[in-house]
């Protein structure tokens, strides 16, 4: 197995001072060039955990986070870390496709332009490569200047993936990326996720256990803010060690 790309050490998180913790003592590794799936019933903290990995929880007022999150050994919550660069390195794809109301090209070019890309031919190349990696190039090549909102839901989500990889991230966080999509679009995105791990480290939150089994190498099961069990996907799904994991996987609750 590859070395750990991201590591969390006894991570606690609560949304306000008096609220019960949303994450309790989560310690885990996310291995490089693999797909790690977070499963669990809704409200179990899996999305919260994902948003801790690129500090999207910074926007929650009064949120309190303790513990450490390391990216290549560097604590991402230490004061000298530049959040913008961190989020560039740790990209994110959201539950609902959220393309900007710009053209397809401008959506993909947004990130590179923030990073100072000015040369149109360089941008064109980035746009093409990103769309290719996201499997959208063939469908979009002739309509790069059309509004992104004219794409179908599944295409929009792949555009969001292309937009995320245009800034050359190292880690890609996906928060239930197929929950708003139909089965065919879902299959395409899943296929894409399996391809993406060649170049990126992928962490994916899903409420769909079959999806976790299909796309991931490692699975982590969360319950009420706790990381219950964590291991290779085939082990988790065939011989879980914890009774709660087994109950969840066999559909006894959730």
């Amino acid at each position: 197995m590859e070395e750990a790309k991201m590591v969390t050490k006894s991570l606690f998180m609560s949304y306000s001072r008096n609220a019960p913790p949303a994450l309790k003592d989560v310690t885990m590794d996310i291995r490089a060039n693999s797909v790690t799936a977070f499963i669990g019933p809704s409200g179990c903290g899996k999305s919260t955990f994902l948003r801790c990995l690129n500090r999207m929880n910074d926007f929650v007022r009064d949120a309190r986070i303790t513990g450490r999150v390391l990216l290549d050994g560097m604590d991402i919550y230490s004061p000298e870390v530049d959040v913008t660069n961190l989020r560039r390195r740790v990209g994110m794809v959201f539950q609902r496709p959220n393309p900007f109301p710009f053209s397809i090209r401008e959506n993909v070019a947004y990130g590179p332009k923030l990073l100072g890309a000015r040369d149109e031919s360089v941008i064109d190349e980035i746009v093409e490569n990103s769309l290719r990696s996201a499997g959208l190039w063939e469908e979009a090549r002739d309509r790069l200047n059309d509004m992104a909102t004219s794409l179908s839901g599944g295409q929009q989500q792949r555009l969001c993936i292309a937009r995320a990889i245009a800034v050359e991230p190292e880690v890609l966080l996906m928060d239930e990326p197929t929950s708003a999509l139909d089965p065919i679009a879902t299959a395409r995105v899943e296929e894409l996720v399996r391809e993406l791990k060649r170049d990126y480290t992928v962490a994916i939150v899903t409420h769909n256990m079959q999806q976790a089994a299909r796309v991931s190498d490692t699975t982590a099961f969360f319950l009420m803010g706790e990381l219950v069990e964590y291991g290779p996907t085939d082990v988790i799904f065939t011989t879980p060690t914890d009774q709660r994991t087994e109950d969840y996987i066999t559909g006894r609750f959730g």
Binding site: M56, F59, R87, N98
Partner: protein, 309 residues
């Protein structure tokens, strides 16, 4: 007890009569409400009709080209001259200058309130903008006359502090709350998902605001800007008191101007009803009315989705 008795009766006269009464009890209020509500249409129709009725007769005195291109506004001279170009230019100049000042500033204020301002200070900021909007224009005009003009005259060594710059500045203050409040509404309505997408790509807050949120709200902001321009065109007291009132085509910001609104306000009081001068002033009213109606149509078209690529 009697009521219970009534319910038992299922056929015959009383019930039919009651149904009739009930029907009248519905039709009469509905008719009254509808006809009163229609007074809005009547009112707008009357406004257009009376403005045209009183404004059109000036065309018997002079020609449209003379009005539109004539540079001399001497309505009470003998022979009178009804050139409105300097007045139109004055209106255009103060509107333009005040919009240039107030629109960017108003949008920036709106961005501040929607995306930067700490939650606790939000209400305070919105209420202070609202209070600014409640300042009567005659008070702002007075400030222009009594405070800004003397200072401007001394500091800039001008002939008069009552000029285009002074009036435009005050007009800017006057339309600022309109622009800022309406822009803020549309910025606030931009989904959080748009902001999240930008932040997740490593965008800073200002990049997110200026490159994403602003673009997402561009329609609402365009409407806000047009409504601001509309108020600026139609505002009277500030330009009447602070613009200087000279019917010349302005060439510099320190030139005094006499916009259409202030001409009407200044001259209508001393004009005999039915005189050519009276009709000329109504003609200006028509111009103003048509400009605002045109801007209104523009706002409606933006609203209904026209003009998008």
């Amino acid at each position: 007890m009697e009521r219970a008795g009534e319910i038992v009766i299922t056929t015959g006269g009383p019930r039919g009569a009651r149904r009739g009464a009930r029907k009248w009890g519905e039709i009469v209020p509905k008719g009254v409400v509808t006809s009163v509500a229609l007074s809005g249409i009547w009112l707008m129709a009357f406004i257009i009709f009376f403005l045209i009725k009183e404004g059109a007769p000036i065309l018997k005195e002079t020609s449209l080209t003379e009005i539109a291109l004539g540079q001399l506004w001497y309505p009470v001279s003998n022979p009178p001259s009804y050139g409105m170009l300097p007045l139109i230019a004055g209106s255009a100049a103060v509107t333009l200058l005040s919009s240039i000042m107030a629109i960017p500033f108003g949008v920036v204020l709106a961005l501040f309130i929607s995306d930067v301002c700490p939650e606790r200070a939000r209400e305070f900021c919105k209420v202070s903008l609202e209070i600014l909007g409640f300042l009567p224009s005659v008070v702002l005009g007075f400030i222009g006359m009594a405070v800004i003009a003397p200072h401007m005259q001394m500091k800039l060594e001008l002939l008069s502090g009552l000029n285009m710059l002074n009036a435009s500045f005050l007009l800017g203050i006057l339309i600022l709350p309109t622009i800022a409040t309406l822009s803020e509404d549309s910025l606030y309505a931009v989904p959080q998902a748009m902001r999240d997408a930008s932040y997740a790509l490593g965008g800073t807050r200002c990049e997110t605001m200026f490159k994403v949120v602003l673009k997402c709200a561009s329609r609402g902001i365009a409407q806000a800007a047009i409504l601001g321009v509309m108020r600026s065109v139609g505002e009277t007291m500030v330009v009447l008191m602070a613009a200087g009132g000279a019917a010349i085509i302005p060439l510099a910001m320190s030139d005094p101007v006499r916009p259409l609104t202030s001409t009407i306000a200044a001259e209508m009081g001393e004009t005999p009803v039915g005189s050519p001068h009276y009709h000329a002033l109504f003609f200006m009213g028509c111009l103003l009315l048509f400009i605002t109606i045109a801007l209104n149509i523009l706002v409606l078209r933006i609203e209904s989705g026209g003009g998008e690529k």
